[in-house]
Amino acid sequence: MQATTEQSGKKRKLAKIKNTNKFGYWFILPFFIVFAGFNLYPTLYTLYLAFVDISGFNFEGNFIGFQNFSYLVTNNLFLQASYNTMLLWVINFIPQIGLALLLAYWFTNYQLKLRAQGFFKSVFYFPNIITAASVAVIFFTLFDYPRGPVNMILMQTGVLEAPFDFFRSAFATRSIVAFIQFWMWYGQTSIVLTAGILSIDKSLYEAAVIDGATAWQTFRRITLPLLKPITLYVLITSLVGGLQMFDIPRLLTDGGPNNSVETLMTYIFRQAIEGGRNVSIAAAASVYLLILTIILSAIIFFLIRDKSEREA
């Protein structure tokens, strides 16, 4: 082209290419501004805080290396909080995914032809709409000692002789917290799973019916394997949410009795806001929480993904 231009000896005017793509960047800019201000900066600042010794009314800290981190691994409350967090997540997630799967299966099963599905889906979802604060108050009142409704019912039906102080028992309090988490989130999970099942190609089921597969076989051999990506998604989002469990334990008993529902988040909050206001220790605990989240998510991710790819 250039050669031609030079040959003819004339200067040719060339069309400019207008890059309209750049406008796209303007549209996504707000997100990055918000992200940088409310996500990136706090994260980096937390990292800085974790390596200094700020507490109380101090603003300036000295660099103390990994002292905060080594303090935490030997701190009984932090270890207890980590254990509680995992335990509470496991005992709320197993029944949650179980029931959610069952509900999703019923909702999508064309043979059952359940009526009023919309109604039930809404009802199952409702607990999720109520704010955690209200839920905590409701359950605190229900299990009140000595004259809460649950105690009254159990005594009148003869299950209990004397009123039982639920929030003084580690087992009862943990169960109640796990139940609330389960109750608030199974509707959400079952709707996600329903969507997952509905996205599976119908012809697979038709083929299975023609080949004489039973309902259980269809579910076991078609639904479950093809639901894996969605299950992975549910698992990881629930895990991330579960590790950050805060509002219910905090509002119900504030970690008690005897730290039995002290979670990582209530621990971090307590360190940063209460007592000596050990901001740096809280920051180090947050970094641990981040690392724990990454590791556990990675484990789940690889466990589930690898298998499905190998089988395929």
Binding site: V34, F59, L77, R147, T237, Q271, I273, G275
Partner: protein
């Protein structure tokens, strides 16, 4: 989760909105502004004092007064991050439990530099000034009230189960803790267990802990006073023998006992009468209450007022504090209008004579309370009280008094819990 993402977005947006609106308020709200005095409070009493007394007496102030109120349990959380930034409110109200934290922080102004307060506080009760002073003795906060604690009991129940009913007779029975527990047993036996001496361990907690000579922390070391150990044992003993209802403090059952015939008495300070006993006792038990000192001298609660070091309106702030905490005309009116025991000895002596409280069956509670103030010691108040009091309740007193843990375990858990929140305090664990 889509919902979660949406939540995050909405959260971020609303944070932006809140932040921007805070920014606007902040300009006039916390840095003193040009012409408004900013008062941060957790109690609505200050609004009453300012609007109905102060601004009536001084209606020609050439600046505005902005009162910002937060719930008590949120107050520290909101104020703490501002301390030391130079954006503190001009006037800060502080509750006994957390007053020392700010008083000892070095971010409050020396009040003795203002002549009016220096002069006026001469007749302020010593214990009130002791709490309001820094470690070096500089007064940085003063209060308009004193809050001595007492034991309120039911006249008719005393008559029925103890055979005596007049305050001096009842006081003779419960003048020490052994007598207190014995009287509790007598009431239990005489009522077939229908009536409990007290409703909750809180009726023991403040009376015991308020008598300590040392605070929870001395020179960065945790100190567990003998009275704290005695408190544990007494609470366990009374709980095991069914001498207390063991209702959670300040819960429904605790307040319900004020209007039914299940609870013999409550350990409460001055404000407990106006804010708790009268509203909850209501018609049902009005006139049937009497007040005695009980087994110990203590105080519970109270509101201290100070000026931030960064304030640009210190003179104006001092004028308000001088009025609210030392002006004798005001304090006398306040005492007469509310029945509050004020912090000024002269005023208390002035008004104590002709008081008669119908709720207490005509008893002159003002004179009773006034007599208690001189014995009050405030040396145990530390900046750690809010947190360590809660930790003691949660990790030692409640579990031990319910028989859930052994004594050593309770103490150990308590020490451990203090160490968890204050890593620099030597808690005495091996």
């Amino acid at each position: 989760m889509l919902k979660k993402k949406l939540g995050v977005t909405i959260g971020a947006l609303s944070t932006l909105v809140i932040l921007s609106s805070c920014g606007n308020q902040g300009a006039v709200g916390t840095d003193g502004g040009d012409d408004s005095l900013v008062v941060w409070s957790f109690t609505d009493e200050i609004e009453d004092i300012i609007n109905n007394y102060y601004l009536e007496d001084y209606s020609d102030l050439d600046y505005d007064i902005d009162i910002v109120q937060f719930p008590t349990e949120e107050f520290e959380r909101i104020l703490d991050p501002l301390i030391g930034t130079g954006d503190e409110p001009d006037v800060i109200l502080m509750e006994q439990n957390f007053a020392k934290k700010y008083i000892d922080s070095g971010y409050l102004t020396d009040l003795e530099q203002f002549e009016g307060i220096r002069e006026g506080s001469q007749s302020t009760y010593d214990y009130v000034k002791e709490v309001g002073s820094q470690e070096d003795g500089t007064l940085v906060a003063n209060a308009w009230q004193a809050a001595p604690g007492a034991f309120f009991y039911r006249y008719s129940l005393a008559e029925e189960y103890l055979g005596v009913s007049e305050p001096e007779d009842v006081q003779a029975l419960i003048s020490d803790w052994d007598g207190f527990v014995d009287t509790a047993r007598q009431i239990r036996d005489a009522s077939d267990g229908e009536v409990y001496m007290i409703a909750s361990v809180d009726d023991l907690r403040f009376a015991f802990l308020g008598g300590r000579e040392q605070g929870w922390v001395v020179d960065d070391e945790l100190v567990i006073d003998d009275l704290a150990y005695e408190l544990l044992e007494t609470a366990l003993e009374m709980n095991e023998e069914n001498l207390l209802l063991d209702a959670p403090a300040s819960g429904a059952a605790y307040f319900a006992g004020m209007s039914n015939d299940e609870i013999f008495g409550y350990s409460l300070p001055t404000w407990g009468l106006n804010f708790w006993l009268e509203p909850n006792g209501g018609e049902a038990t009005a006139g049937d209450w009497r007040m005695v000192q009980g087994p110990s001298t203590y105080f519970r609660g109270g509101t201290w007022v100070g000026i931030s070091e960064s304030s640009e309106m210190k003179e104006e702030a001092a004028h308000l504090i001088e009025y609210a905490t030392t002006d004798q005309d005001f304090l006398e009116r306040w005492a007469n209008d509310t029945g509050d025991i004020v912090s000024n000895e002269d005023v208390v002596e002035e008004v104590r004579g002709d008081y008669s409280n119908d709720f207490l069956g005509g008893q002159n509670h003002y004179a009773e309370f006034a007599d208690m103030i001189d014995d009050i010691e405030a040396g145990f108040v530390t900046e750690f009280d809010q947190t360590i009091n809660d930790l003691f309740l949660d990790h030692a007193l409640t579990p031990y008094s319910k028989g859930e843990v052994e004594f050593d375990t309770a103490i150990r858990n308590f020490r451990q819990s203090v160490s968890n929140l204050f890593p620099y305090i030597e808690v005495g664990l091996d």
